[in-house]
């Protein structure tokens, strides 16, 4: 069969539910936008509190995305390439943060890394203080975002297969070289998709952060936390910042996605 695509039409009715789905997702965001006095918008989103929170959000989300890449790439590679039986279980466990309500995720993180947590005494002895620090924010974001990266990347690795890796090895490339110069470059689109999903999820993270890291301006109060706070006293500002968040996310997704398919 030729590479050229030959098209079969879609049933016409299918556009109705598809449109409905699109509207269901987009309408609420659009409705949010109608809630806002656009003349105040610039002022609202450039207030010191907003700028501080946005800066913190971008910094922590970037850090947690990097951490996700650092931890998630090796995990995805091992999951995709090993054939051990226990990996089936491991693959299910990695999805846990996806099911846990973020607040429970925060409680779980406290149970593990809090002062009285499993590793608390150990961390204390090393002089590491995660409570109420920006590190805690990054950890919370990483915890909830890691599955996104791992799932996307593992799928891409399995799809790509191992043929080029074998060729590279037979040309004299050591395993690390194969990974760096062949395996990963080949799954770049999948990796980009995974990183975008992880970044987006980090940017929106609220429950685990507020539970595990607390909420202090400039240190732990990310944009979602500020929005939650302002919701009561300054609904306009909250809505404006929500839209800001949406815009930031769309820009990031737009910048990364065209190069690879999601």
């Amino acid at each position: 069969m030729s590479a050229r695509t030959r098209h079969v039409g879609l049933p016409r009715w299918i556009h109705v539910p598809a449109l409905l789905a699109g509207v269901f997702v987009v309408l609420p965001v659009a409705a949010l936008a109608t809630r806002i006095a656009w003349s105040d918008f610039p002022g609202l989103v450039t207030s010191p509190a907003a700028r501080t929170a946005l800066g913190l959000s971008l910094r922590t989300s970037t850090a947690s995305t990097l951490l996700c890449l650092l931890l998630g790439i090796p995990l995805a590679v091992v999951l995709a390439r090993s054939e051990a039986r226990w990996l089936g279980v491991a693959r299910s466990l990695v999805l846990l943060p996806l099911v846990l309500p973020p607040v429970v995720g925060g409680i779980a993180l406290l149970a593990a890394f809090g002062r009285q947590g499993l590793l608390g005494a150990q961390l204390d002895a090393w002089g590491v203080q995660v409570a109420f620090s920006t590190i805690a924010v990054v950890m919370a974001q990483t915890f909830v975002s890691l599955p996104f990266l791992v799932v996307s990347l593992e799928g891409a690795l399995r799809t790509a297969g191992e043929r080029y890796d074998v060729v590279a090895a037979s040309l004299g490339a050591a395993p690390t070289t194969v990974l760096r110069r062949v395996t990963l470059p080949l799954v770049l689109p999948g990796l980009a998709s995974g990183a975008v999903l992880a970044f987006a999820r980090s940017l929106g993270e609220f429950g685990a952060t507020v539970t595990f890291a607390g909420s202090l301006e400039g240190t732990t109060r990310t944009l979602p936390l500020l929005i939650y706070n302002l919701r009561v006293t300054d609904a306009d500002a909250a809505v404006a910042m929500s839209l800001l968040l949406v815009v930031v996310a769309v820009v990031v997704i737009g910048l990364v996605r065209p190069r690879g398919a999601l």
Partner: protein
């Protein structure tokens, strides 16, 4: 850089031993599933045999308690699919081997350019693999394998994916390249074996069934596969004064050649399909061998049609096929003159 292979892979029922002298090219022939790719994989370090050893130039690569990783073997495996790295340019593809073996960027580039010139692909250096035709890609793959400076080159059906237009040029290139190299080539084409290899090793069912100089094996095959491969009919049996007696008692008359087989010893009778005439009814007259067969396949070969019946084949014209109304299942007579049949010891 001689190679000694003596390996067993139990779950694939493969037990193979052969040697390749320094600078020699050996062709591995055999039907599907005979163990050809398995052999290359074992030598290349992609598959660990159950027992046995692979020794390259005195250095044990695979052995009872020895295992050299694929990337450390200095063997290069070229599969039938060129598998150029799609994210690298042609030049970067060819430079990949030198870089992996530790060469600097500039040195690797120079090596790559030299090899690209060798395969007449200098003009393609900056292209992506997706922008190459099948033949160009295969040429670049050859350059890439050679640029890795392997002590041993392993080629697995390097021309199977090529269309008829580019195969000859690549065959010519490989002929030059392999002339003074140690190499093992898996092929399904008699011409490749003849033009590229010094010696051939014939595998069947995971075992070596015949080996020897390429010309000898292909012109005087002793195994059924080698005969089919060389496009010859082969009938084996016991030598009689004027031919070969088959297990069913019938005698195929022929001419004994050079070392005439001792009467009563195992012998083979070999003749060309084009020497076989096809008749609907057994013809009269005597100096001819008449074999009653049932037609199994009609296979177009250029301007003739090969009529297959069991192990035997006859080449007839398209017009004759139409005239005789040949079709699979039909009972016909294959007729061949005794002077066309060579008889020699098995």
């Amino acid at each position: 850089m001689s190679l000694v292979v003596d390996v067993q892979v139990a779950d694939r029922d493969v037990e193979i031993a052969f040697e390749v002298a320094a600078g020699e090219t050996v062709a591995i022939l055999g039907p599907n599933g005979a163990g050809k790719s398995t052999t290359l994989d074992v030598v290349g370090g992609l598959l660990r045999p159950d027992s046995g050893r692979v020794v390259l130039d005195g250095k044990e690569l695979t052995g009872a308690d020895r295992w050299v990783a694929p990337h450390a073997r200095r063997t290069a495996l070229l599969a039938q699919d060129p598998l150029l790295f799609p994210h690298l340019s042609v030049l970067e593809n060819v430079a990949f081997g030198p870089r992996s073996r530790g060469a600097g960027r500039a040195a690797a580039r120079e090596t790559a350019l030299a090899w690209l010139a060798e395969v007449d692909a200098t003009g393609l250096a900056e292209r992506r693999p997706a922008q190459l035709s099948g033949g160009q890609a295969q040429r670049v793959a050859v350059a890439r394998a050679l640029a890795a400076d392997p002590q041993l080159l392993l080629l697995d059906e390097p021309m199977a994916a090529l269309d008829i237009a580019v195969a000859p040029a690549l065959r010519q290139l490989l002929r030059t390249v392999l002339a003074d190299r140690t190499a093992v080539v898996v092929t399904h084409h008699v011409l490749d074996a003849l033009l590229l290899a010094d010696r051939v090793v014939v595998l069947e069912g995971g075992r070596v069934v015949e080996q020897g100089p390429a010309g000898v094996v292909l012109s005087r095959p002793r195994s059924a596969f080698a005969a089919r491969f060389a496009g010859l009919n082969l009938v084996s049996g016991v030598a009689t004064p004027d031919g070969v007696r088959r297990p069913d008692g019938s005698v195929l008359h022929g001419t004994a050649t050079d070392p005439a087989p001792r009467e009563g010893s195992e012998a083979v009778a070999v003749f060309r399909p084009s020497a076989v005439a096809v008749h609907r009814e057994p013809p009269g007259g005597s100096p001819r061998n008449v074999l009653s067969v049932r037609v199994e396949e009609l296979e177009p070969l250029g301007d003739v049609v090969r009529v297959r019946a069991g192990d035997l084949a006859a080449d007839v014209t398209v017009a004759a096929v139409a005239e005789l109304g040949l079709a699979p299942g039909q009972e016909v007579s294959f007729v061949v003159k005794a002077t066309e049949v060579d008889v020699y010891p098995r």
